[in-house]
């Protein structure tokens, strides 16, 4: 029983991070109709940004997080403005392939610049634990969970209650009408992708603290983010919380009761099942 509780806590903490991971993907998908195969690579870049700020300049990783987000925002903005805006009216398939090309470029650029070694971000308090209702909880994981949650809610508030956020949502629903209200699609698209990239960067920074990183983690993280996004439901960005938490807990339980090598089987198996049986996700409305 004790073990189960510990596993659940682990799963929930992981789930928060998962939700943040998928958040940027869902935003870009919903607003720009772009299925971003380079999403995981952006997460990876965020992790490295945080790593180098930590080891190079001595910044605390959680303080480096906003900086990583800012860097990724700029990168994302440029990517959309210079590359993705060129294929946005093409069949969705084209943007899929273009983002794959970008993923290749980013991954091998990272390999070239950072070498293929595994790295971790190890702040001094990395080993600190505290006890929560009987479960041992690593400090860094709780901090990561808290930040992930905060960012997810922040995005939701941004989209619902700010002028720009509403402009983004309006453009997602009806570009022609949004244009009539003075929205400049080029900038707005770039802004949206930038935000998505920034969120990926944040997820990466947190990921680097709780796990090892190398230039090749991108593809796997992209796949995982897809699973989280679809399982939660693409209708609203906030659904990603459900997807993340659900998958986090399921993976933790799978590792305990079936075996750690089976987590991918279960995660992606659920993804396929959800797509077949209920494509709108656990929370989405069935069409």
């Amino acid at each position: 029983m004790q073990l189960l509780w510990q596993i659940l806590v682990n799963g929930i903490l992981l789930g928060g991070l998962y939700a943040l991971m998928a958040l940027g993907l869902v935003l870009v998908w919903g607003v720009l109709n772009i299925v971003n195969l380079a999403h995981g690579a952006l997460i990876m870049l965020g992790a490295y940004a945080c790593y180098y700020l930590f080891t190079g300049f001595g910044w605390d990783p959680f303080a480096a997080l906003p900086a990583a987000m800012a860097m990724l925002f700029c990168l994302g903005y440029l990517i959309q403005r210079c590359v993705l805006n060129l294929v946005i009216r093409a069949p969705m398939f084209n943007s899929l392939l273009v983002t794959f090309g970008l993923e290749v470029v980013i991954t091998y650029l990272a390999q070239f610049l950072f070498s293929a070694d595994f790295r971790t971000v190890n702040p001094s308090y990395a080993g600190a634990n505290f006890s929560f209702l009987g479960a041992t909880v690593p400090l860094v994981r709780v901090l990561a969970f808290g930040i992930a949650l905060a960012l997810t809610v922040a995005l939701w508030l941004f989209l619902e209650h700010t002028r720009i956020g509403r402009a983004i949502r309006a453009t997602a629903q009806n570009l022609v009408a949004a244009r009539l209200y003075g929205v400049n699609p080029r900038q707005l698209y770039a802004l949206t992708f930038g935000i998505g990239a920034a969120l990926a960067g944040a997820a990466g920074a947190l990921y680097g603290v709780v796990s090892q990183i190398n230039p090749y983690i991108g593809a796997g993280l992209t796949a995982k983010s897809f699973a989280i996004a679809i399982i939660g439901g693409l209708e609203k960005s906030i659904y990603v919380l459900v997807g993340g938490l659900f998958l986090g807990v399921v993976e933790a339980l799978t590792a305990l009761y079936i075996g750690p090598t089976y987590t991918d089987v279960v995660s992606f198996g659920i993804l396929v099942l959800v797509l077949i049986v209920r494509p709108s996700g656990l929370l989405g409305r069935t069409a």
């Binding site: 093409a90 084209n94 392939l97 794959f100 091998y108 070239f112 075996g259 089987v265 077949i276």
Partner: protein, 316 residues
Amino acid sequence: MKPALKFASAALVVGVFATVPLWGSAVLVQFGINALILATLAQSWNIIGGYTGYPSFGNSVFYGLGGYGVAIAMVQYHLSFALGLILGATLAVLFAFLIGLPVLRLRGHYFAIATLGLAEVMTAIVSNLEIAGRNIGLILPLAKGDALFFELSLALVVVTTLTVAWISRSRFGFGLIAIRENEEAAAVMGVNTTLYKVLAFALCSVFSAVAGGIHAYWITYLDPGSAFDVALNVQMIIMAVFGGPGTIFGPILGAFALSAISEILASKITSLASIFFGVVIVVAIVFMPRGFADLIQNFRRLGWRYFQENLKAHRV
């Protein structure tokens, strides 16, 4: 080009290719085998992705099943290579029918993601199977020599392409194209869309599986990561799209062109080779999204404006 002339020149090219192992260097032969296998994969993807319009990101499953079919048959049961190929192909076809039925009901990007998910699931499942050697994989008996594999791969590409050629002028193929262009209209006009889609999926599974089997025996080693290489999926799609989806020779052109570019880059600039490859992909999709085949057809008419037109049509 008149069809007879086309056929004759294709036969000539095949004939020339067949002689490569006689005079080519070891490096050239190996490049050839890799390119030919990729060409088969691109061509078989063409059937479900190019002609039917269902972009599968899971053909690596068939490739892996083919590889493991051969590996398990030869290593665990000491059967011949041919039997291994048959086993692999059978597994792939079964998978195509069983999984194809539910998954082919999905459209567009949902189908793409579902197949991607399947690729991940199969990788994970197989890495837990004892008979497949788990994570470590299997080591196959040593093979006879590159020349044999070259001819086998060449034969496979020829068979796959002949099948695609047949599809392009058959009632079955017409039905697939109708499904791609407008599935609801096709159904209303009497096309059994479910059956046709699953058959297309099964067809591409056979060729992909045999390709996987040949590859596994050739490199004499197989593990879940390399067998079900998920990156291979996008590679074969890029090649098919680069060459021209929905055409007979497009995917082959694309496979050879991109393999060649990749080789040249790798030999000249090593570490930056892949980066340039990625750039090539991005530029190609932006400026010639319908592939080489379309470019060749329309360049005569439009010249450099062809690229401009593509850009204008697709940008913000």
